[in-house]
């Protein structure tokens, strides 16, 4: 009888203990390496985009170790799979920082995954390098945003269409989540400030993975036949793009008639698409694989060699990781330690070469400077740059076109050290507009 009870105790306890043991094993690893966390989904819906970034990180760490590592120590990647499950991102982030004691984490793709890990990085005071273009409206002490803010992607693209294509009528089509919603809000305000009438803007949202685009493409076609030059600004997310472009092509909408400029379609996405009918449609990024610079050529060659796949493409978030990783390395070397506080102080102002022939600098708002490129999709799935900003654009975390954020700035340098400083009231904490 008593044995029975003990059996159960052991059983329940074993379950709990197994968790503890299995998860704390890596903590006892040797101390002569610097650990770098890689937090990208390798399964689930986001694996499609994030797996490449995991490979990029492994590649970069490998390269750095070939150069002799960092601070005399080798770098060691700790890869976990948050499986496209947002609360699991938080759990894994906690594990990387608290158990594996990583010096910095490179990861996340979707806004929600970033939002999910933010409190963890804040609480445990670690570093996150976030490589994807996002909606802005955020600046956090422990996060470095190496992807584009809306002003580094969306606004230049709209400018290009207005100036070079004479577009007067706009369809803002997006997947219904925060990035498109915010970007479209910003664009709407921006377009209206440029004198575009309200009735010349059509906003449309679709669910994730939307595959039946017949109605919407027809709507776009009808909207576009009002006698004014029309363009589509697409913030349609990943998977839904393929059927969208197929429907566009089949309904005979050519880039010459209604060009589509997309912010979420890169080389990686186009690799899964018959690009023939897409030629001439536009994308706006801060990097294209086709950009002809020696740095880029070298990077692509090494990358193809590392992945042992001559067809492997590169894309913008990969470049963001390259920049972010190099910045972190430089900042650690500058600070002489991997201590997060020291790195946070040291990294501001750090400038590293990007792959497009210039330098990117970490600004006090934890966003970086980037050039903006508008590319036309080519038949081989590459982009051909048709326009680029003359200089570098500083990432603007608080959009100037949203009423509640136009007065805010972020500056993480010593005296201010604030992510939402209101220049009107002169206070940190965003107060003032309401």
């Amino acid at each position: 009888m008593r044995g029975m009870n003990w059996g159960m105790t052991n059983f329940v306890a074993a379950g709990l203990m197994a968790a503890g043991l299995s998860l704390s094993v890596p903590a006892h690893a040797a101390d002569d390496t610097i650990k770098v966390g890689v937090l990208h989904s390798l399964s689930g819906t986001m694996a499609i985009s994030e797996t490449t970034l995991k490979d990029t990180m492994l590649f970069l760490i490998d390269e750095q170790n070939k150069k002799g590592g960092l601070l005399g120590k080798k770098l060691e990647a700790v890869v976990v799979d948050p499986a496209s499950d947002w609360p699991l991102f938080a759990e894994k982030a906690r594990q990387l920082i608290a158990v594996d004691k990583v010096a910095a984490v490179f990861g996340c793709w979707t806004s929600v995954s970033r939002k999910s890990v933010l409190p963890v990085f804040e609480e445990l005071n670690s570093l996150l390098f976030y490589p994807v273009q996002y909606e802005g409206e955020e600046s956090q002490r422990n996060v470095f945003y190496t992807g584009a803010a809306p002003n580094q992607q969306a606004i230049p693209a709209v400018d290009y269409l207005m100036e070079n294509e004479g577009v007067e009528r706009w369809v803002l089509a997006g997947t219904d989540y925060v990035y498109p919603q915010t970007t479209n809000k910003i664009l709407q305000a921006y377009l209206e400030s440029k004198g575009v009438a309200k009735e010349d803007i059509l906003v449309n949202y679709t669910p994730f993975g939307h595959s039946d685009w017949q109605t919407i493409v027809t709507d776009i076609k009808n909207f576009g036949s009002a006698g004014k030059k029309t363009a589509v600004v697409s913030t349609i997310n990943g998977d839904a793009n393929v059927p969208f472009y197929k429907e566009l092509a089949n309904q005979g909408i050519k880039a010459e008639d209604i060009p589509v400029v997309a912010f979420s379609v890169g080389e990686e996405e186009l690799a899964g698409l018959d690009t023939g009918p897409l030629v001439g449609h536009l994308t706006a990024w801060n990097y294209f694989q086709s950009i002809d610079t020696p740095e880029n050529a070298e990077f692509i060659a090494k990358w193809k060699e590392y992945t042992k796949n001559p067809n492997r493409v590169t894309n913008d978030p990969m470049e963001a990781h390259v920049i972010g990783f190099n910045m972190w390395v430089k900042a650690v070397e500058k600070a002489g330690t991997t201590d997060p506080d020291a790195v946070i102080d040291a990294i501001i102002g750090v400038s590293v070469p990007n792959l497009t022939g210039g330098y990117s600098t970490m600004m006090p708002n934890h966003h970086i400077t980037k050039p903006v490129f508008i590319g036309e999709i080519q038949a081989d799935g590459q982009m051909e740059t048709v326009w680029q900003t003359s200089g570098l654009v500083v990432g603007d975390e608080w959009s100037d076109y949203l009423p509640d954020s136009k007065d805010l700035i972020a500056d993480w340098r010593a005296p201010m050290s604030c992510g939402n400083f209101n220049v009107v009231t002169g206070k940190c904490g965003g107060k003032g507009t309401n």
Binding site: D219, A271, L282
Partner: protein
């Protein structure tokens, strides 16, 4: 830029017919050489215009090459060539004569950049040239281009073309283009009112956009006529739009039908909840990908036939996997539908991850054969070929399946086993094999659905998940165990969805459909076409 360029070009065309060689080749070469110095699109555009203004038909080669991004400048000497990329090098040819001019490495030359604005300009510039083409189709297209970009200067050329035209339909389009040109000219009001009637008769979106522009800029009788015409056109377009919506609904319904029809067999006939059904669809899509990859590398000429090869293979692959699942797992779980559900869900995870491991997590490229690309107009309705074929294909699959079930010995056995297993067994039917083959059939059908869906959707490991819930809804809504129910269910859900979409938006429309299904199931717990019976429930 309101030059009567069409006339010039037409004249040039005639001239080209009289004199074999161009009069001023050197002049053209001088202009072409300017492409080398064009630093931005504006400069390139100016050169293109200058070329077109010469009216020399020989410029067509250069302009087409420019539009297609095939115009190159040699870095060494600034010479301009038409190039064709072959691997790492580019085969160069003379921009005017087309004579071979050797090869160059990609590093040695730069492409003359082109953007949409330029392509559009070149299309317009060349539009005039083709008005005199021998091919009536090309003439029609030219007329439509001129309709969309009306120019008073075109009227004379159009008059001449109308006088020459022998094909009635092309003639009508030319007349519409002429009317459009009149509307932007400074002709008399009477003339314009007549022109408005011509444009109104055309009745499409282009006509509407033209009329809207006219109404905005004119006054008095013309404006009144234009406004009336707009109302007329709008009324007709609204009718067409309703028809278009029905078509979209049917098209969506046929996709649902394809996804659900295999399930109608495994779930409806056998009572097996196959949560891995979506993955069978996915396997079919990946089979298409593999077939196309092989064809692309080994037999590029057969690409248009790729789907014909993929169909039987997809059926076999999915059926084989289905057979393995039935023999390996499901047969132990008969009579325990809820546990089958769990086990097959597990199978679906394994299949997804296997595909992810084998093919990578990213989308795979599956191309449309030429006969599935593009579209055609039916009145004011735009139908796309891929949707059109998929509708036919879905109905075809349905018909074949119906035939198999109702008319073949195998179908008879299947139905016998469903109706009374023991009796069937004692009649000598090998019921376990009928079960296994029925399941394989359902899976195989899902596989060929995958071939069709690969034409409109992503081919990724997540493909199947997107369809599984919808398929279950269709089968349950239509009534389990009834193929006709599945057909009606799929079509009505498709049409319903498409009619809700314009009002509620895509997301809310889908939610409403789901809620309606939930409510419908309350009303008819066994679906639309449920069989009534006295069978005592357990």
């Amino acid at each position: 830029m309101r030059m009567p360029r069409v006339i010039v070009l037409l004249a040039a065309l005639l001239a080209a017919g009289l004199f074999a060689a161009s009069a001023d080749e050197d002049g053209l070469r001088r202009i072409i050489a300017k492409f080398a110095d064009a630093k931005d699109f504006k400069a390139t555009e100016a050169v293109a215009r200058e070329l077109a203004e010469t009216g020399d038909p020989a410029v067509e080669r250069v302009l087409l090459a420019l539009a297609d991004g095939n115009l190159f400048v040699r870095k060494g000497d600034g010479a301009v060539f038409v190039g064709k990329e072959t691997g790492a090098s580019v085969t160069l040819s003379d921009p005017l004569t087309g004579e071979k001019a050797g090869e160059a490495a990609k590093a040695e030359i730069t492409k003359v950049k082109v953007n949409n604005g330029l392509r559009r300009l070149i299309r317009d510039l060349l539009g005039g040239l083709t008005l005199g083409s021998a091919d009536p189709l090309t003439r029609g297209v030219a007329a439509d281009t001129m309709f969309r970009t009306p120019d008073a200067a075109n009227i004379e050329a159009l008059d001449a073309a109308i006088a020459r035209e022998t094909v009635a339909s092309v003639k009508a389009r030319l007349e519409q283009a002429r009317a459009a040109s009149i509307l932007v000219s400074d002709g008399s009001d009477e003339e314009k009112v007549v022109a408005i009637a011509v444009v109104e008769a055309r009745g499409d979106r282009d006509a509407l956009s033209l009329l809207t522009a006219v109404a905005a800029r004119t006054e008095g009788a013309v404006r009144e006529a234009a406004e009336n015409a707009i109302a007329q056109v709008n009324g007709r377009l609204a009718l067409w739009a309703a028809g278009q919506n029905v078509w979209y609904g049917i098209s969506l319904g046929s996709v649902l039908l394809l996804a659900a029809i295999g399930l109608a067999i495994t779930f409806g006939v056998m009572g097996v909840i196959n949560m891995a059904h979506g993955e069978m669809v996915m396997l079919g899509a990946y089979t298409t990908y593999v077939v196309q990859s092989i064809i692309r590398t080994s037999f590029p000429g057969l690409f248009d036939w790729s789907l014909a090869f993929a169909l039987p293979l997809a059926f076999l692959v999915a059926a084989a996997v289905g057979l393995a699942i039935e023999r390996g797992i499901i047969r132990f779980l008969y009579g325990r539908p809820l546990e089958t559900l769990l086990a097959t869900w597990g199978v679906s995870l394994i299949l997804q991850q296997s595909v992810r491991t084998l093919f990578g997590p990213t989308n795979r490229e599956v191309g449309n054969p030429s006969w599935m690309s593009g579209g055609f107009d039916l009145g004011q309705m735009a139908l796309t070929w891929n949707r059109f074929w998929i509708v036919l294909f879905a109905l075809g699959v349905f018909a074949v399946l119906l035939y198999v079930m109702k008319r073949t010995p195998w179908g008879l056995q299947m139905r016998a086993v469903t109706a009374n297993r023991r009796m069937a067994a004692s009649m000598g039917i090998r019921t376990p094999w009928v079960d296994a083959l029925t399941f394989a059939l359902g899976s195989g059908i899902a596989g060929i659905a995958g071939v069709a869906l690969s034409q409109i959707d992503n081919v990724s490991p997540n493909l199947g998940q997107g369809y599984i819930i919808d398929s279950f809804m269709v089968v349950v809504f239509g009534g389990v165990g009834n193929l006709w129910g599945t057909l009606v269910g799929a079509m009505s859900l498709g049409v319903l969805n498409k009619f809700l979409e314009p009002y509620a938006g895509a997301v809310l429309g889908k939610i409403l459909v789901l809620v309606l299904i939930i409510l419908f199931i309350q009303k008819r717990p066994r679906g639309l076409f449920a069989l009534k019976g006295r069978a005592v429930e357990a």
